[in-house]
Symmetry: C2
Subunit: 244 residues, 2 copies
DNA sequence: AATGAGCGTTGCGTATTTTGCAATCCCAAC
DNA sequence: GTTGGGATTGCAAAATACGCAACGCTCATT
C-alpha cells in the first residue's frame, strides 16, 4: 500500500471538510510541511486541488469532472434513478439508494422529502450497518462468513434509545429481515425518524443495492409508514427487473 | 513532485473515461502491473475507486462526497449560481461559468439551453483559450507577463475555419476584448455556435471568472446574439456586485 | 477431468523516491 | 529597514515503492 498516496487521499478528504492552510494539513496528518507541500503540488498540477492567493487549499475542479462520471458509472444508480424519482413523488418522502461497497454500505443516491425535513445522510458517505434500513438489508444479504465477520467487528454505536447494541440482537434482526424481504428502522438511527428498506437484486438473485423510505414521525407514525411498504417493494421490484 | 501520487491521479483520470482492468491501466501508464495494483488498493481502501466482481475498476463513491463539497467551495460558483439561472431562463440559451485556475480556464458551471442543443463543454474540464468567449475574457484579464507567456505557448489548435491560429491575431483580439469589456466567439470553437462572454470582478476589480452565452445559429444569427449582450452584461454586473 | 491460457496476486531485494531537517526566501507588518 | 511568519528549496538518510519472477486462481477448451 502506497504511503504517499494514502496521505494524499487523506488530504483530499480533509479538504472536503473545508479549506486548509499548509501546516494545518501538516498537523492533521502528523507529517512535515514539506511532505504535504509536495503532495499538494502534484495534485494542484492535475487540478485535484487549487490554491488561492492566500495559499489556502481547496478541492479542485478535476474532482467535479470525475465525480459526475463516477455517478454515471454507478450502474445501480443509473437503473434505479427514474424509479426512485417516481417513489419520491408518489410518497413525498425521503428516498435513499445504497450499495454494498468494499465492506461498507454507501449512500449512492438521495431524494429529499418534499417537506424538506433535514436528514443527516449524505451521498457518498457510509451508512451505519446496525441501525439503518439499507444497512440491515445489505448486511442480511451478505454471505454468512462475511456477515459474521462484520457482526463481530461492528462498533454498535448508540444513536438513539432504540439502537441495537449487540451482535446477537442484530443477528436476529437480520434473520427477520431476510425472511420477510424488507428491513425496518424504528427510530434506531435518528430519533423520530422511521425507515423501511428493501433489497435490489440482479438477474441471478444477488443483492446489489437497497432502497429505503425515511419518514419523520411528525408526518406519519410507524404504522402509517408501513402502509407505504407496497409502494417501496414495487419500486424495488421494478428496479430489479430493469437491472439485467 | 510525488511520482506515485502522480500515477494514481492518472489512474483516476483514466477511470473517468470508463472502467478499466488492471493491466489495461498498467499499459496506459507504462508501469508494471504490481505498481498499479498497489495504487489501486490504497485508493480502494479510501473508496476513491471500487472494483467489481470481475476485477474491473471504476471510480468510487468517495468522489461523490468530495465533489459535492468541492462545488460548494467554489466561491464564484456559489455567488453566481442564482444569477446564471436567471440568465438561462430569460434567454433560454446555454450559460457557462468559467474561472481561471492554475494557468487554465476551467468550466465551473453550465446550464443547458432549454432547446437542449448538445454542447461539447463539460464542467470541470479546461476551455480552449484562443477560441472561446470565456477563454478570451479571462486571458485578456491576466497580467501582461502571464498573458504573453500563455500566448507564446498556446497550441492554437484549429477547431473551425474561424479559429484564431496565431499569437498576433489573438493578441489583437484580446486587446479589443479588454477595451470593450466583453468577448465574442464567432463559431471559432464549434461551427454554427456563436458565443459572447463577460468578465466577473471582485471589489478590487480583479477578474475572478467569466460568464458566457452560447447560441447555435439555427436559433439566432450572430447579430441576434448581440442583442442578448445587455442581459449578459447585466448578469455579470449583478454577480460582481454580489461578490464582495 | 485434465490442460493451458490469461489474469490477478504475492515475496523479495534493490534502488529510486520520499521524507524531514535546516537553511533560505518571500512578503507583509511594524 | 527590520522583524517575523509562512512558504520554499537542497540535501543526505532511510524508508518506500518498484519491477521481477514465481505462484494461484478462474475459465474455456479439448
Amino acid at each position: 500500500m502506497s504511503q504517499s498516496l494514502g496521505r494524499a487521499l487523506q488530504i483530499l478528504k480533509s479538504l472536503g471538510e473545508g479549506e486548509r492552510s499548509l501546516d494545518q494539513l501538516a498537523t492533521e496528518l502528523g507529517v512535515h510541511k514539506t511532505t504535504v507541500l509536495r503532495l499538494l503540488r502534484t495534485m494542484e498540477a492535475e487540478r485535484f486541488v487549487r490554491r488561492d492567493a492566500q495559499h489556502r487549499y481547496r478541492l479542485g475542479s478535476q474532482l467535479f469532472a470525475l465525480a459526475d462520471v463516477a455517478r454515471e458509472q454507478h450502474v445501480v444508480r443509473q437503473v434505479a434513478a427514474p424509479h426512485l424519482r417516481e417513489l419520491n413523488q408518489k410518497t413525498g418522502q425521503t428516498v435513499h439508494l445504497a450499495a454494498w461497497e468494499n465492506g461498507e454500505v454507501i449512500y449512492v443516491d438521495k431524494l429529499d422529502s418534499v417537506r424538506s425535513v433535514r436528514m443527516y445522510s449524505q451521498v457518498g458517505v457510509p451508512a451505519a450497518l446496525h441501525c439503518t434500513a439499507v444497512g440491515k438489508v445489505l448486511l442480511a444479504a451478505q454471505p454468512k462468513r462475511q456477515r459474521e465477520a462484520v457482526l463481530a467487528t461492528l462498533d454498535y454505536k448508540v444513536y438513539t434509545p432504540n439502537t441495537i447494541t449487540d451482535a446477537d440482537r442484530l443477528r436476529d434482526e437480520l434473520q427477520v429481515t431476510k425472511e420477510r424481504g424488507w428491513a425496518q428502522d424504528k427510530a434506531e438511527h435518528e430519533s423520530f425518524i422511521n425507515c423501511i428498506g428493501a433489497p435490489l437484486s440482479d438477474s441471478t438473485g444477488r443483492v446489489v443495492g437497497a432502497v429505503s423510505l425515511s419518514v419523520p414521525d411528525v408526518l406519519l407514525n410507524y404504522d402509517q409508514v408501513l402502509e407505504l411498504l407496497p409502494e417501496l417493494l414495487a419500486t424495488a421490484e421494478a428496479i430489479s427487473a430493469d437491472y439485467n
